[in-house]
């Protein structure tokens, strides 16, 4: 595995239930995603996109296989650490369909919450948060509450939150689902720019084929297996 690898998956399988209710969602998936890549993950509804995302994100336990985040092997038929949440906190950023910002925290506090949990210096984490807000052109909104921002602004804050801890990978679950076409394109362009500039691997689940041209690679789940196009 070279230094450029952000995610490596080997023979990853996931099934639910047993007997008559046994369902296999992912079967022997193997792939590598490099730093700086924006990868689109597409599949029909119920095809296992979110499940794959959750397995890479150390949320859902795979049935078998191996996962590496950067150079660290985190799963080998079992979690190799009992602190998967610490891995998520330090190495993974999440973006959701809706912004899912904490409604009772203002924008700057939403961004510095995770660094605080990582015991990062407050001054440093605020500086980083302000830098991101400036980057996303919402620097004047740091004391605003999420309810006072538009959908697009909130989604930019959500992206900033995913990046505030300098993650190695960002997992985005249909980040443009709640946005109109123009804003969706804007968000995907931002993700592409971030991936390139910050050398972060971004896996983006999407249903919208119009977003695919902006992505570096397209990962498709077809009949439980992963195909790159």
């Amino acid at each position: 595995m070279n230094n450029n690898t952000a995610i490596r998956v080997e023979n990853l399988s996931k099934s639910f239930g047993d007997g008559d209710s046994f369902i296999e969602v992912i079967k022997n998936a193997s792939f590598t995603i490099n730093k700086g890549q924006l990868v689109a993950l597409i599949a029909p509804s119920g095809g296992g996109k979110t499940t794959l995302l959750m397995m890479i994100g150390c949320v859902e336990k795979p049935s078998s296989g191996q996962i590496w985040i950067g150079s660290e092997k985190v799963f080998d038929n079992k979690w190799l650490t009992n602190q998967t949440r610490k891995i998520r906190r330090e190495k993974i950023g999440f973006i959701f369909q809706a912004h899912y910002l904490i409604p009772f925290l203002n924008i700057i506090n939403n961004l510095t919450l995770l660094p605080q949990a990582n015991k990062t210096n407050e001054k440093f984490s605020k500086a980083k948060a302000r830098e991101l807000l400036k980057y996303f052109d919402i620097a004047d909104k740091e004391t605003a509450m999420p309810s006072q921002l538009s959908g697009g602004q909130n989604q930019r804050v959500a992206i900033a939150r995913a990046l505030v801890n300098n993650p190695q990978i960002v997992l985005a679950d249909e980040p443009t689902a709640a946005l109109d076409m123009q804003r969706s394109v804007d968000v995907v362009k931002i993700l592409k720019k971030i991936a390139m500039e910050q050398k972060v691997a971004i896996v983006m689940v999407t249903h919208d084929e119009r977003m695919l041209p902006y992505c570096d690679r397209i990962m498709k789940i077809e009949d439980k297996t992963i195909i790159f196009t």
């Binding site: 949320v59 906190r89 999440f94 009772f104 995770l114």
Partner: protein, 381 residues
């Protein structure tokens, strides 16, 4: 440093305060209940303390006028006074009466005493207007709670009584106001019959001997003598029951107030349990409202400790605020209660401790929800 509980409370400040006020009112009632009990004890001891006597001599086999009927002859006071070690004595009667007030009958507890005797049961410190009784007949000293004023004229039995003095804070253990009349008037009120009955009794040759009965003889002991020993002596040689002041206090608190205090104690305990359940339900609902955020916090990697801290701090804050509102509420309304309510600081601190413990207990329901929250539920629809 982000303080999650503080930020969450600030976000829903109005709702949080109204909730705390609601729980606070419940706690205020708990404080009032405790105050009613304390008031009952204070009231029960008013007459005992005002009389300030060392011995109570009552009918043999009875507990005395506060607990049950007792009759002894008034002359017993002279016999008792002749005993070695006795300084002063007084024959005394107690009876419930109804005073005809402007707004209907006023229930009162009348103390009858020998106006020219050794012991005056009216505590001078309580007299806020007028003077104690100075005549054997048709004078009455009332408590301000009865609604009567100085020089008011009150019809009692066959006669009109004039209010010569007004006291403040003189009540019985039941909260009834005390009034004071002369022993002769009290005996007439208590033991005299209707004209027809007297006529009939005379025709039958029956003489009303009850007119010189009293309910108790009270006595003060000379310095250097033991009230316990004198009481034992009276019990042995005079076939009466005799109680020291401590024993009479026990009779009052154990026999008269104990059941009421148990009842109030039970009410208080139930209210505290109800308050705990309500706080638990509020915290549970507040946690349920935040489940999406909690799942997201867990998903993005926030440790459980941070989220649990938020829940526990909010619960404790709710408890503290409710306690403060409860205190304010109880202090606003306690004077409106017809019976004496004594709010004591140690009781408030005890309730504070109980509420803090109840809040911690209540926070467990929220903490359990946090621990069981599935971070994966944050993703998808």
């Amino acid at each position: 440093m982000i303080h999650l509980a503080k930020e969450d409370v600030r976000h829903t400040l109005g709702k949080f305060i109204v909730t705390a006020m609601g729980v606070g009112m419940l706690l205020g009632i708990v404080l009032i209940m405790m105050g009613v009990y304390r008031g009952m004890i204070v009231d029960a001891e008013v007459l005992l303390n005002d009389l300030n006597v060392d011995l109570w001599i009552v009918q043999q086999g009875t507990l005395g006028p506060f607990a049950e009927a007792s009759r002894v002859h008034e002359d017993l006071q002279y016999t008792i006074k002749s005993l070695q070690g006795i300084d002063k004595t007084c024959a005394i009667t107690f009876q419930n009466i109804q005073l005809p007030g402007n707004k209907g009958k006023v229930r009162a507890f009348a103390v009858g005493y020998d106006v020219y005797g050794d012991i005056n049961p009216i505590n001078p410190a309580r007299l806020i207007a007028g003077r104690p009784l100075s005549s054997d007949h048709y004078e009455i000293v009332v408590t301000d709670k009865t609604g009567f004023h100085l020089h008011d004229r009150i019809k009692l039995g066959r006669h009109i009584y004039t209010v010569t003095g007004v006291t403040h804070g003189s009540v019985t253990s039941g909260g009834d106001p005390l009034v004071y009349i002369s022993l002769k008037d009290a005996q007439e009120l208590q033991f005299s019959y209707s004209d027809k009955r007297i006529q009939t009794d005379r025709a039958r040759g029956i003489i009303n001997r009850d007119a010189h009965m009293v309910n108790a003889i009270i006595a003060r002991v000379k310095q250097g003598y033991s009230a316990v020993k004198i009481a034992a002596n009276i019990r042995k040689w005079y076939h009466k029951s005799a109680y020291t002041r401590k024993q009479q206090r026990t009779v009052l608190t154990r026999n008269v107030v104990e059941k009421a205090s148990k009842q109030i104690g039970l009410f208080t305990a139930i209210l505290i349990i109800v308050a705990t359940i309500i706080i638990s339900l509020i915290i549970y609902t507040m946690t349920l409202e935040k489940m999406k955020e909690i799942s997201i916090m867990k998903l993005i990697g926030l440790p459980d400790s941070m989220i649990i801290r938020m829940i526990v701090e909010e619960t404790l804050l709710l408890g503290i605020l409710a306690f403060m509102f409860g205190n304010i509420f109880s202090h606003i309304i306690y004077s409106k209660f017809p019976k004496r309510v004594v709010l004591e600081i140690p009781d408030a601190w005890m309730l504070f401790g109980v509420i803090m413990a109840a809040s911690i207990l209540a926070s467990f329901v929220g903490v359990k929800k946090v621990i069981n929250a599935d971070p994966a539920s944050a993703i998808g629809g």
